[in-house]
């Protein structure tokens, strides 16, 4: 233990003082650990246990990089550097992989550790969980990386894999799906995973702009193009040069402008309003819509040729009610975010809430779930969201639905089958848990599983 003493002063410690210091370090709300010159952990406080998920027993004596598991450990270990250069480094950003194999952003400070005689004995690192800060920062810049798309449903995981493959290419993408399913999140993820990630990501909402303004917004204008055009204005396409442009609600793009967009796609150039000189641009186009473009084409509201140019690949994000196994995961994710935002420690929803949420049809999809959890966290005064702390309009909806639910389930076997399967999958096929969520007896659940032929095929 002596090697971990910090050089507070050069005088000898009485044993009592040592315990006092250790007690102090243990109770501080900051992760702290120390290593010897072999990078073996010789001190590990309670907060370090909390952030990493490893207990003190598991961590002591291990090499720090085998516990913290960060990318920096391989490239540029600051703790090693502190020891070697006898220097302190503050507020270095890093990401550890905790025991649950979840990535946790941390802010670290490192310094060398001396013994009483002033001889260097190892290093010392303090770190704080930086998730909230990183999350806020991301919200601020509205940048979602691939990891921010939370999903475990098989359809979604397949989408993510496709996404990963196509993000490196320049092919245009159309993302469809109901409101709130995560079209924007996916679009940002594609950009962030592409080679264009350090170039602009520009979002244009085609539905939010008055028709008269869309053209100048997208393509810009020359000074004098019309009465109010006192200076040149850059269009969004120019701003996005080298990067990605997201055409949100592409279905609302007026038919006259569709021709101009087609020209950009075909010739990679366009004329700003009032300009005779074409401008060259290199942008990747992602379009989103919650309307059916093929129907619009039939009704001549959308150009078929444009549709085929935009559609290098089209994928539909399924509504949340068709991937209920994502619900528990998303709940956890939003609890995490909003607990931090509201400075609370809400860790779970109680079983009634889970049941209500798993049964809800979510016309507003993930956005609706996010709002419900935010509300619940904001009003809850302990570490659990209870049914009573849910928004009143949501409660009204589920209660009226519950009255007819029983007969509905009986009428619709396939619904029940899907529901059971989803809950089983989201609970790793834990029969006990699933029965509890469904509020039925285990044997009833077994019977139903047999009836519908539900077996876990993933376990070897």
């Amino acid at each position: 233990m002596h090697s971990i003493l910090i050089k507070v002063d050069r005088y000898r410690y009485k044993m009592d003082d040592v315990f006092l210091y250790l007690e102090l370090l243990n109770n501080i709300t900051m992760g702290i650990f120390a290593v010897n010159l072999d990078m073996e952990i010789v001190f590990f406080n309670s907060e370090a246990e909390k952030i990493t998920g490893f207990t003190k027993d598991e961590a002591m004596g291990q090499r720090c990089y085998e516990i913290f598991r960060t990318e920096l450990c391989y490239k540029n270990c600051y703790l090693k550097k502190a020891i070697k250069e006898k220097k302190k480094f503050t507020h270095v950003r890093n990401t550890i992989l905790n025991k649950n194999n979840k990535e946790i952003p941390v802010d670290i400070t490192v310094s060398p550790l001396y013994d009483i005689k002033g001889k260097i004995r190892g290093g010392f690192e303090s770190f704080i969980d930086n998730s909230l800060y990183v999350q806020l920062e991301k919200e601020l810049y509205k940048n979602y990386s691939f990891e921010d798309v939370i999903a475990k449903d098989e359809k979604m995981v397949n989408l993510m894999h496709t996404l990963l493959r196509i993000s490196q290419t320049d092919i245009p993408v159309i993302i469809t799906g109901e409101t709130g399913v995560g079209k924007d999140v996916f679009a940002s993820a594609i950009h962030n995973r592409s080679n264009r990630h350090d170039k602009p990501f520009i979002k244009v909402n085609c539905a939010a702009l008055p028709v008269s303004l869309i053209e100048s917004e997208l393509f810009g204008y020359k000074k004098g193009a019309f009465t109010d055009a006192k200076t040149d204005k850059l269009g969004r396409f120019q701003e996005a040069n080298g990067g990605t442009i997201l055409l949100d609600e592409i279905s609302d793009l007026p038919i006259e402008l569709q021709a101009k967009l087609l020209q950009v796609l075909d010739e990679k150039e366009f004329y700003p309003l009032g300009s005779k000189k074409p401008i060259k641009v290199d942008v990747r186009i992602i379009s989103t819509t919650n309307k059916n473009l093929k129907d619009l084409i039939k009704n001549r509201l959308f150009r078929e040729d444009l549709y085929y140019r935009l559609n290098g690949i089209e994928f539909e994000i399924p509504p949340l009610r068709e991937r209920r196994s994502d619900i528990p995961l998303l709940i956890e994710h939003f609890l995490d975010i909003f607990s931090k935002t509201y400075n609370k420690t809400v860790q779970r929803v109680d079983s009634n809430v889970l049941k209500a949420l798993l049964n809800h049809d979510f016309p507003g999809n993930v956005r609706e779930l996010k709002h419900i959890i935010e509300f619940g966290v904001a009003v809850s005064d302990n570490n659990e969201i209870t049914y009573e702390s849910l928004p009143i309009d949501f409660r009204k909806k589920t209660e009226s639905k519950n009255n007819i639910k029983d007969s509905y389930i009986k009428a619709s076997n396939s619904y029940e089958k899907e529901q059971i399967l989803n809950i089983l999958e989201s609970n790793d096929w834990d029969i006990g848990k699933t029965a509890q969520i469904l509020n039925i007896h285990r044997t009833t659940l077994w019977r139903k599983m047999k009836k519908y032929g539900l077996f876990n095929t993933h376990v070897a």
Binding site: C73, L97, H161
Partner: protein, 112 residues
């Protein structure tokens, strides 16, 4: 019995994405154990999966494993024993002597 270990400098790679070698251990009979070392030029999830499939391995011992790896491997019925720390030789011995347990869950968490 056959299993594989993600290795870096003769220890279990602390992060699976820094695996340098995949060690495939097969035990045919009591004393008949063969060990094959496969060098990985790069180690994205698909490449690891390919090596496991090519070598008919269904159990993988590793240290830290990021979600994109575990999802792909689990989807392909690979049993993952994660958070293992230690020297490759020790880990092989421990696994052969059943000191690394897998209970019923698909993923097993152990440290040390």
């Amino acid at each position: 019995m056959r299993f594989a270990i993600c290795s870096l400098n003769h220890r279990v790679a602390p992060l699976i994405n820094h695996t340098k070698e995949i060690i495939v251990v097969s035990k045919v009979q009591k004393k008949d154990i063969s060990i094959k070392e496969i060098e990985m030029a790069s180690c994205n999830a698909l490449e690891i999966l390919k090596v496991l499939k090519d070598n008919k391995v269904k159990t993988l011992i590793c240290g830290g494993i990021k979600e994109e790896y575990s999802q792909l491997l689990e989807k392909n019925n690979i049993k993952i024993i994660e958070n293992v720390i230690g020297d490759i030789g020790d880990v092989i011995k421990m696994y052969l002597h059943k000191n690394i347990h897998s209970n019923n869950t698909k993923r097993v968490r152990i440290a040390k």
